[in-house]
Symmetry: C2
């Protein structure tokens, strides 16, 4: 997807994405002013204007999708009493190393109980659910929070990909039966595809995670891995079948149609909006900077008057006329700053504005306009009267075009491996390994440790859509294979 860098203007990115993804990403973040890592707490960054606007648009789309599917929003306190937190044993074990604690307040000193900055909201919410849910009539009970969470990350942080404070949606649902809960998990996976694959153009595949890699407190975890096209994957939203693991300790009960009191079956789902943003810009961006889906661009069309001394007036007037026409439907900006036309081109390319319209003396003379599409650099010259139609056409197809160009076929990324050495080579060659494995239950954990240590990848789990490959034996121990799994490096 990346192409070699031909020239490196001062305002542009100087590293090729293909050659050094990590350096490229850092430059993109800095030069397009998406985040500032200089905030003086380790692991905490500022999301700047351009990123904040797109993330806000992503929230709106995600919330609309959830609303349509019968979820309702709630607002929860961000502090959780330690006593709540301790109620589910696996959960506390999993999250304890990551919790920030509020212990003091005001001038009165120590608080009577430590308060956790929510790392996730199960233990805050489900206490309330036990008060709110009474009868089968209240089910399904589907709610979500749009909020931020804090985690004292041990791993290296990177803006949007991983930070100690990040912004997400968490959806928490209660059902009368395990089957209904499992249907919700499926709906969540569908929602993920709708948002991240259709709207953000990120290719995904869902895996059922191995038991040793599930959400702390879940029965099962299903997670989307973004295919980054380099063999390395990035975990995006995951949805968890909690079953009754929380409803019992948190007393989330309902009176069923038969008059009996029963514990609910729960699911939770956590699309991290900041990470989705990071994945999107990392995946779609090129050596000129950001590429953004049309709906998610803070500015969709930039008009650049190319000014020559003495000829400014008709050019600026024309720019203004076009601005007035287009702003009715789109987010438009005229860049009439003092910078050179070239600098303006680089500036807005770097920021991923989908459409650039140029108006110079020649355009005035010939009564025409020049239009350039960001994602494929295609140039169109047209009469002014044809502009609106052309813009509408581009607006309608822009995201679809990116998606078509960007979506990777999962099958083309994998290599079937029957032996450990082949798997090591495949991983080193930037492939995802597909192989036989004992199982994804805890008793296969020793084989997974070997994978991590010797192959240098992680068992991502069993694919959720149709499995096309079958193996006789486990790649590691050679015993009869219980399932097919995929092994990949991850960000």
């Amino acid at each position: 997807m990346a192409k070699k860098k031909k020239e490196a203007p001062i305002t542009g990115i100087t590293v090729s994405k293909e050659e050094d993804f990590s350096a490229w990403y850092t430059e993109l973040i800095n030069k397009a002013e998406l985040a500032d890592i200089r905030y003086n707490i380790k692991g905490f960054v500022v999301y700047r204007e351009w990123a904040t606007i797109t993330i806000r648009k992503m929230y709106k789309k995600y919330e609309d999708l959830l609303d349509k599917k019968g979820h309702l929003p709630l607002t929860m306190p961000s502090l959780i009493p330690e006593s709540n937190f301790l109620l589910e044993a696996d959960h506390v074990k999993g999250f304890s190393p990551e919790v920030f604690w509020v212990t003091e307040a005001g001038t009165s000193g120590k608080l009577p109980e430590r308060l956790a900055l929510r790392p996730t909201s199960e233990t805050a919410l489900y206490k309330m659910y036990s008060l709110w849910i009474r009868s089968y009539k209240d089910l399904p009970f589907k709610r979500y929070l749009s909020c931020q969470v804090w985690r004292y990350e041990g791993k290296m942080t990177r803006p949007f990909f991983r930070g100690r404070e990040f912004h997400w949606i968490e959806s928490h649902n209660v059902f009368a039966t395990m089957e209904d809960a499992m249907e919700q998990v499926k709906e969540d996976m569908e929602t993920t595809y709708q948002m991240l694959q259709d709207e953000c153009c990120i290719p995904l595949i869902f895996f059922e995670r191995p038991q040793w890699d599930k959400f702390s407190g879940a029965e099962k975890t299903f997670a989307a891995d973004a295919l980054m096209g380099s063999g390395k994957v990035l975990q995006l939203p995951s949805t968890h079948l909690l079953g009754q693991k929380f409803s019992i300790p948190f007393d989330v009960k309902f009176v069923d149609t038969d008059g009996k009191e029963k514990y609910g079956y729960q699911t939770c789902y956590g699309p991290a909006q900041s990470r989705n943003y990071g994945a999107m810009i990392a995946y779609l961006g090129d050596d000129n900077g950001l590429v953004l889906p049309f709906d998610l661009a803070p500015i969709q069309i930039v008009i650049i008057p190319i000014l020559f001394k003495g000829k400014e007036e008709p050019i600026l007037a024309k720019a203004k006329v076009i601005f007035e026409i287009l702003k009715k439907k789109y987010s438009v900006k005229i860049d009439d700053s003092d910078e050179s036309a070239g600098s303006k081109f680089y500036y807005w390319e770097l920021r991923g504005v989908p459409i650039r319209i140029e108006i110079g003396p020649r355009e005035i003379e010939k009564e025409q306009l020049v239009l350039i599409k960001r994602h494929d650099s295609k140039k169109f010259i047209m009469k002014e009267k044809d502009l609106e139609k052309k813009v509408n056409e581009i607006a309608q197809n822009y995201t679809k075009e990116i998606k078509k160009k960007s979506l990777i076929d999962f099958e083309s990324q994998i290599e079937l491996c029957y032996e450990k050495d082949a798997a090591i080579e495949a991983i080193n060659n930037g492939k995802i390994v597909c192989c036989g494995f004992c199982s994804i239950d805890m008793d296969a954990y020793h084989c997974a440790e070997v994978v991590e240590k010797e192959i240098g990848g992680f068992v991502r789990g069993k694919r959720v859509d149709e499995e096309k490959h079958e193996f006789a034996t486990c790649l590691i121990c050679g015993k009869p294979a219980g399932c097919t799994v995929y092994i990949a490096k991850s960000y």
Copy 2:
């Protein structure tokens, strides 16, 4: 505004707003399920679905207004290092008693530095501003955050009015001159009127607060007091002229057109969305429950099929037809639950749904529809073909009608007082006192203390719009009056 309660169905409110505002408000919150105070940390509440949806709509409107006026959004970490916090002396003095401190994380125990849960973001943001702002070309620099803040409140909390975690917008701006900064303060006041008076129908008046009541670290504070119609006021958004009080310690400098480096002039503005919501529902609500502006209602139209055994089918079919027509433009719901028609009426009245459409056997027979407006209970009977037009008409006028009915004339609320005893009586009679005062500078603080202690009200400050009244002497000490002030009780 409130009327006597005639009947009290189980689902309705049993206390008259006029007789006992406080008990009425508590019932409204509980019965309309707007907030839940049972969350197990003192002063922290859950905002439930119905409130969250309206607050989200309020955010959208406020953000759109700010965007239009040239502000851009940012996302800041919610933790602030103690060392930042200590940079501005007045600020730290004012906020120290209210800060929650994060001191521990994970299993590694104590953090090297205490981290404040932001009570407000000046000390986080302005460190970044000093990195971002370089030249006069960067000014005006207008940004805002949509976020929550935490304050260890000593005062009694009440859902939405005052809590230890609340949701607001904070706008932080930098200008080249004090005059530009003061223009921003005026713009903020205008924005407040546009949002809170025009959209939320809350009558407001802006006061320049006395020096002893200004924002910690500001030169001057201008705050909107909502006129609650009982002599008691509620402070809503305030905007602060910070001048150079933060730009100097935080090093927010720019190179001016003359090539010289100068400190910027700053303002900040903090509309608390949760409190605005509280003020709105408290002010507009009546003894049947919520009254909401049309745009801010989570559901704008509820269709209630009145079902009789054996006659359900044509009624439900008609409801569905109407639903399909109206849902193109409005947020509509059919309530086809098992509850009685009467219970449904109460339920949706309580939640302030602006339009109720009833369809029963008679409506089918006569080919007509019954429509009821929530805020004035006006009933309309019409042919189905006229429905859409009628709904559009109501939708367009509903908020204006509430506003017309609700806005109180400030002059009618005040009583001119020339002596302390008259002021005491006026305050006890639910009036706002207008009187002469030494000044609103610190040297008048001793007079303000007398006001608080003996009159039982607070000096709200000098009104910002045109002052209509003049006094010869200070109400308290009898010395020549420096200005006219207003004294009121406050929530």
